[in-house]
Symmetry: C2
Subunit: 399 residues, 2 copies
Amino acid sequence: MNKIEIEQASAASRARILRLLRIHGRLARIDLARLIGLSPATVSSITADLMKDGLVREVPGEEGQAGEGERARGRPKVLIDLVADAACVIAAKISINEIQLALGDFTGAVRAVETMHLGTREIAAEALIERLGEAIADFRARLTRGRGPCLGVGMALQGIVGKSSVLTWSPAFSLRDLPLVDPVAARVGLPVILINDANAIALAIHDRPAYAEIANLGVVMLGAGVGMGLILGGQLYTATSGAAAEFGHTKYHQGGPLCMCGKRGCIESYLADYAIHRDASTLFDLPGGEVQHPSEDQMRSIVARADQGDPRAVELYSQIGRVLGFGLGNLIALVSPDLVIVTGPGVRAWRHIESRMRRGLSDAVIGTLLANTRIEPMSWDEDLVFRGAFGQVLDRQPG
Amino acid sequence: MNKIEIEQASAASRARILRLLRIHGRLARIDLARLIGLSPATVSSITADLMKDGLVREVPGEEGQAGEGERARGRPKVLIDLVADAACVIAAKISINEIQLALGDFTGAVRAVETMHLGTREIAAEALIERLGEAIADFRARLTRGRGPCLGVGMALQGIVGKSSVLTWSPAFSLRDLPLVDPVAARVGLPVILINDANAIALAIHDRPAYAEIANLGVVMLGAGVGMGLILGGQLYTATSGAAAEFGHTKYHQGGPLCMCGKRGCIESYLADYAIHRDASTLFDLPGGEVQHPSEDQMRSIVARADQGDPRAVELYSQIGRVLGFGLGNLIALVSPDLVIVTGPGVRAWRHIESRMRRGLSDAVIGTLLANTRIEPMSWDEDLVFRGAFGQVLDRQPG
């Protein structure tokens, strides 16, 4: 290798070590070496550099946490950990009429979230870019002090993101084919990436050590819309166009309810928050509020009716389970993932959905095929869209 | 490289050259070198060995067929071609109550086909293996003389083939989880592979130079069943289990007609030959014949009614188009292939299916997504199942 190649290889190893620490948390050097496939001596040399740069630090290991090799040699237990405030990153999650900005630290943890309302559906492109740029610049000025350099902005939203980072279509906008990335980057003076929200979640989950080895993983996000991130052969599948895994726009019934995409009978038009709220409004006198993007409180008040045993609410969630089972049946027939994780705020009603969903699945698909796919809910304690967007920005850093 | 590594590399290059000649037909050495990424000298050395072994031969090039480099140097136009009778291969295509055996030559061309009837649906495992082994041995003894050594048998069938080459499920059998490969190989004394019929077709099509560069390709086979082979990222996608792309068992309507898989409303239960014949029997007094596996003549007689403008037949095919469009809509939403090829004997009625299929698609899926996928029929002049099965056996030869 010549000097440039050696520098490139070293930069790549630095980046991989930072990524491993972000995914696994603090690790002994010997375990880092095993995970990355380099000699302990090389890893020690790289971590020494990273320490000098203030990106990682040594921390005392607790009982049972040090690497096996280190224990065996009776050395003191020392682990390497990321310095959380070595750098920071911003995520912008754009939903219908709402923008959430989140601050992430160098470990990828969420440190602050702010929500602003913006009438996204009727906004013009220039106004959108100006408001978004202003909001991000203001958020950065107020919140990143003392948190190291800001590495970039990960924008995530429901909709179709083309390969060239153009926002092709989103239910949040009437705008189409919007080149969001470069104009926002120019305004905020930071690198900007754009990612579909469900893809961000799928990447955040596939990053976890427990799921990293699953070759074919589908992650369904139930919430404002119904999204999916699809990992095939260990990689995010984005088709040639950038737009794939539009699970929410597979069909339940051609003559079904109107979907935000403008077509009828998409499973999103039964399963998304706006759809559940629309159907619940038909059954109950609901208190006023947002109907296109109902709040978590609004949605929880519908779940509460089912919790209390109201048969109309129980039946409503049962119908939702049937539609979800039908959709998952098509996914399993076509792609047969090893695991499907159902997550997003919509899992709030899982207990009322699951049994009818599983019955729907076994009505639809032969057992031989069903047996290849596990289906698991994942509670929505943390907004994994932020995690995924942070991760995409942090992964692009040279270290 | 040590001696063993050099031999392995050389064997791999021999195999790749044979494969390129099978796919492209006769080629100049200079074009072979370009396609394979080796020096012309290395290619000349390997082709000399292959000539000595009687696997390839030189043939005079016609005008415009020699490689550009050779023309430029004013050399005589000499092409390298496979020796068709250097070796042969057998394919066994197993359908409901029917087995077809085909003989392929070293170029992968079909040289003979024989059809035998066998009550597959009620047969026991031992009897099936015995009859299949006998039939293949007899076919080989009668037909392969003078065609070089027989390299192996490619068995193709409708149904689910597991990763370990176990026949998991097929509508042709009531048997389940049948380890067909090893027992048949032991009986016939040849290597045997087992492949899903639609996967065989997809591989045969993706082998063609015109389609080889398409990263994400769906091939729908309409015929005795409705199958699909899915190429994703340039590779056949078979999930972890071996069973994927069961397009025929995605759903049109949960309360729909009974499918051979035992569930209701699979799109196969509207689109497969048995389904079209069942529905046509409801409308017309059809002549007697097979109902589970109707013949090509039986199926053509139904198409003929639509050709003649019988409004009931026209409406039947229009309904079929709607269901196909609906199914393709789900495929496009989930996988968004660059190209979907619709082929198999069922394309016989394409002219009566297509317009309603396209209308169904645009009813179902937003234009932004539809724009990423071309849909094309491919006429079923040749049984590509044989081509694909031959190719799988020939590709496994060390050359």
